[in-house]
């Protein structure tokens, strides 16, 4: 009975991951992160992703503050923030976030203010979608570990 729980949860995880890869939300670099996780570093993926969230949210906040300012003109700064976001998103395999950041960056390079506002909104949207998906994944994994733990008592 408990065994079925583990299998079902694993199937849910697989399905979610497959969907995220299929949608292009994640790419193979996300799997690379998993290769860096082992018994000496069992929470590596979770920790890196959370640091990515912290850093990204700081950058997104700064971007919004810059753009809503009526006297905004510092497109170069926008570009620098976006370089960071592009880089870190790429490193963790957040492909869609990375791509929309690149598009946003192009608008900033053309000093296109409305384009930048749109770009920011799209990035925020994709970022939050990714974050929700990651939380769901982590939750499923947590449940799976618990179910597996109960099945094989020490």
């Amino acid at each position: 009975m408990l065994g079925l729980g583990v299998d079902r949860l694993q199937a849910d995880i697989n399905r979610l991951l497959a969907s995220l890869f299929h949608q292009g939300v994640l790419d193979e670099h996300f799997l690379q992160l998993q290769q860096l996780q082992d018994e000496t570093s069992p929470n590596f993926v979770y920790d890196v992703i959370n640091i990515y969230f912290d850093e990204s949210e700081k950058l997104l906040r700064n971007l919004r503050l810059l753009l809503v300012d009526r006297e905004f003109s510092d497109y170069k700064k926008i570009g620098l923030h976006l370089n960071q976001l592009v880089g870190s998103s790429s490193s963790i395999g957040a492909r869609r976030v990375r791509n929309v950041c690149v598009a946003f960056r192009s608008a900033s390079e053309l000093s296109n203010r409305p384009g930048c506002m749109r770009g920011l909104e799209v990035v925020e949207h994709e970022y939050h979608y990714l974050k929700n998906m990651m939380h769901e994944l982590f939750q499923l994994e947590q449940q799976r570990l618990l179910a597996a733990g109960v099945r094989y008592p020490v």
Partner: protein, 254 residues
């Protein structure tokens, strides 16, 4: 594949300690047999990833967040000779290219200008596949140029180069052919392979599938990844990396 011996329970605290601008102390002379890498990257996420990549390959790592801090660590930031210099052992410097203040290229130049560290191999990492950039770095003496995001296979390859170099230094009559002694290197321009053209990810339902890079099923599994690469770095050829063969993203000096 070597593993980091220290079990880190306070992952986040440890990572923050090590990676946010600060520096680890240099390894003591007794650690001279271990490879010590200085990693330079302004991105916290990337510092953590590169640090882990190196540690998983049995390297001691000092991670800093800027070129200036790197020079400071090496004792190159002023004209006074650093008292620490006798004990400082750096076997490899790996640096991001795009950094505010001092770029990786500028850092590379400064290192190659120094008498103490010009022999230390310097590897440049960049998210952009720009031929002129790559050429410039290689001309300035960079050992290798890695495309970001850096993969496990890239670091393994670097590590195996370092291992063979050390071996030859230790044994006098060694006639083993080194990568740097081989025929003139042809640097093939990296193919710009967009990830759309990469083979579709296969979702395997077979949990015994050991091909970790293609199976999302292995995601989060707590069992150690069954590594299909040769663990013995002395005999494994850098060419063997299947990922590298597929992607061919890092030009390398092979």
């Amino acid at each position: 594949m070597g593993r980091d011996g220290g079990v880190s329970c306070l992952m986040r605290a440890e990572m923050n300690m090590m990676s946010v601008g600060g520096m680890e102390s240099a390894p003591a002379p007794s650690d001279l047999d271990e490879v010590h890498v200085l990693a330079v990257d302004d991105s916290l996420v990337d510092r953590i990833v590169i640090e882990r990549l190196l540690r998983i390959n049995s390297c001691k790592v000092t991670a800093v967040d800027s070129g200036w801090r790197a020079l400071e660590f090496l004792g190159l930031d002023n004209d006074k000779a650093s008292a620490q210099l006798d004990r400082l052992k750096v076997d490899l410097i790996i640096t991001d290219y795009c950094m505010p203040g001092m770029t990786g290229y500028e850092l590379l130049k400064k290192i190659k200008e120094s008498s103490n560290f010009r022999e230390v191999p310097v590897v440049i990492m960049s998210s952009e596949n720009v031929l002129t950039r790559i050429d410039r770095c290689l001309e300035e003496g960079a050992q290798d140029f890695l495309l970001k995001p850096v993969k496990l296979a890239d670091v393994k390859r670097l590590r195996s180069h370092l291992a063979t170099k050390d071996d030859v230094k230790l044994s006098n009559g060694n006639k083993r052919k080194l990568p740097q002694d081989s025929d003139p290197v042809t640097i093939t321009p990296p193919l710009t392979i967009s990830t759309e053209s990469s083979p579709p990810l296969t979702i395997s339902h077979d949990s015994s599938d050991s091909s970790s890079s293609s199976s999302p099923v292995e995601m989060f599994s707590s069992s150690p990844i069954d590594d299909d690469e040769d663990d013995d770095v002395l005999t494994s050829s850098p060419e063997e990396s299947p990922i590298r063969r597929q992607k061919m993203r890092s030009p390398g000096l092979d």
